[in-house]
């Protein structure tokens, strides 16, 4: 494939055609914050945290789904981007009921870590306090919709790594939610293989092992990486 040259944060880099801005940035040690991106599954541009500035366009572009092109000039950090990233995080917090102090993922949560690293010390918008249910019908796992940011990582690993197709998205906008099969209790799902990849992939405390209490839930991302590595590179690294 042809190589493309482009500029990221003032530095000239080259990469293969077809690569995304996020891939090229990471290959060149440029950190771009992400939430919905997960190595090994395709990107959907759901969370808008990875927005970058592309010279010549007034629109901000998600780095994870934007393919590189010849001569592209990309800015990954600016006052404008920081403003929008913070705003996006604040809206995520305001939209559902995130209570870090009593969350299973306290201390191991990508949403929490990212918010703090971007200097978010309070949410300027009124909290919505919606009423969401917790599905603990599954033998091994639980789903707390209060903590879900609709990144769809669970859906993508379920369909494209496990191939079970249990998880899906129902509804639209703020009332959209992750469902199992045809919006049935997770415990009644006939397609779920109980592999737990969705739990490994979840960036927050929305998906958890039953029995985990505050701060105990650590998502085992290494297992996913192992599977992806094995599949894509045929390397069965321990």
């Amino acid at each position: 494939m042809a190589a493309k040259t482009l500029i990221i944060d003032g530095k000239a880099v080259s990469a293969e055609e077809g690569a995304t801005v996020l891939q090229v940035a990471r290959d060149n040690n440029v950190a771009i914050p992400t939430l919905c991106h997960l190595e090994g599954v395709y990107d959907v541009g759901a969370c808008r945290l990875c927005l970058v500035e592309v010279a010549g366009s007034t629109k901000l572009q998600p780095a994870c789904t934007t393919k590189i092109s010849e001569g592209m000039n990309i800015q990954t950090d600016s006052d404008r981007l920081r403003k929008y990233r913070r705003l996006t995080l604040e809206l995520l917090f305001a939209e559902r009921n995130h209570v870090c102090a009593v969350c299973v993922s306290n201390g191991h949560c990508e949403l929490q870590t990212l918010a703090c690293s971007l200097g978010l010390d309070h949410v300027r918008y009124d909290y919505v306090f919606p009423k969401w249910k917790v599905d603990v019908t599954h033998r091994l796992f639980g789903m707390d919709h209060n903590r879900c940011i609709l990144c769809t990582r669970c859906v993508r690993v379920c369909w494209h790594i496990e191939g079970a197709g249990t998880k899906n998205v129902a509804g639209r906008g703020a009332t959209a939610k992750i469902i199992s099969d045809l919006d049935q209790p997770w415990g009644d799902s006939e397609s779920c293989t109980e592999c737990g990849k969705c739990v490994m992939a979840c960036p927050t405390g929305a998906l958890f092992h039953k029995g985990a209490t505050a701060g105990e839930m650590e998502h085992d991302r290494d297992k996913l990486e192992f599977i992806v590595n094995a599949r894509e590179k045929q390397q069965w690294l321990p």
Partner: protein, 181 residues
């Protein structure tokens, strides 16, 4: 002149104040720098006038919280939301998703359904304050200058903010010093 500092305990568990007390020997130094003019840990009944800084623990849960908060805002230059309940609503706000009649429901659950002896919702006008329809973080009720999150914020974090304020700086928490939960 010494900075006139107050701390107040609204709808919270007092954990932030316990953490405040964990500053231990720093209090000896602090005593030379500030006057603590109102706090749950000192015996002053009425919130004084002309306060420089007030740390506010807890969410705004009842009429009493709201009343004293408005008084504090009038009489204080700088308000600091102290701990997650003040900053986000945190655990006290977990009744909000139960809808417009959540206060009746939680009182019913706590004082009637789960009461082994003398079931009944406590009622005493002028003594037991009425719950607000929704629990809100402090900055949704009054203007707040600075935020000090954590559940509770560790003593070192409280100290960091106080020292910056005493030195006349706008407090800024960075790195591991900024964390919810």
């Amino acid at each position: 002149m010494k900075l006139r500092v107050a701390t107040v305990w609204l709808g919270g568990c007092s954990g932030c104040h316990m953490s405040f007390l964990d500053m231990d020997e720093f209090f000896i130094e602090l005593a030379g720098l500030i006057d603590l003019v109102y706090s749950p840990v000192i015996d002053v009944k009425e919130f004084p006038e002309a306060v420089d800084v007030c740390l506010i623990e807890g969410a705004v849960c009842n009429e009493d919280n709201l009343e004293i908060l408005r008084k504090i805002r009038e009489r204080t230059k700088v308000l600091v939301s102290f701990g997650d309940c003040a900053v986000t609503g945190n655990v006290p706000a977990m009744r909000n998703p139960f809808g417009p009649d959540n206060r009746e429901n939680v009182l019913q659950r706590a004082y009637v359904e789960n009461a082994r002896h003398n079931p009944g919702v406590p009622k005493a006008d002028g003594i037991v304050p009425q719950l607000l329809e929704q629990v809100v973080p402090v900055h949704e009720a009054v203007y707040v200058e600075y935020y000090l999150p954590g559940c509770p914020p560790p003593a070192a974090r409280i100290k960091a903010v106080l020292v910056q304020i005493i030195n006349g700086q706008a407090p800024l928490l960075t790195g591991p010093q900024l964390k919810f939960g």
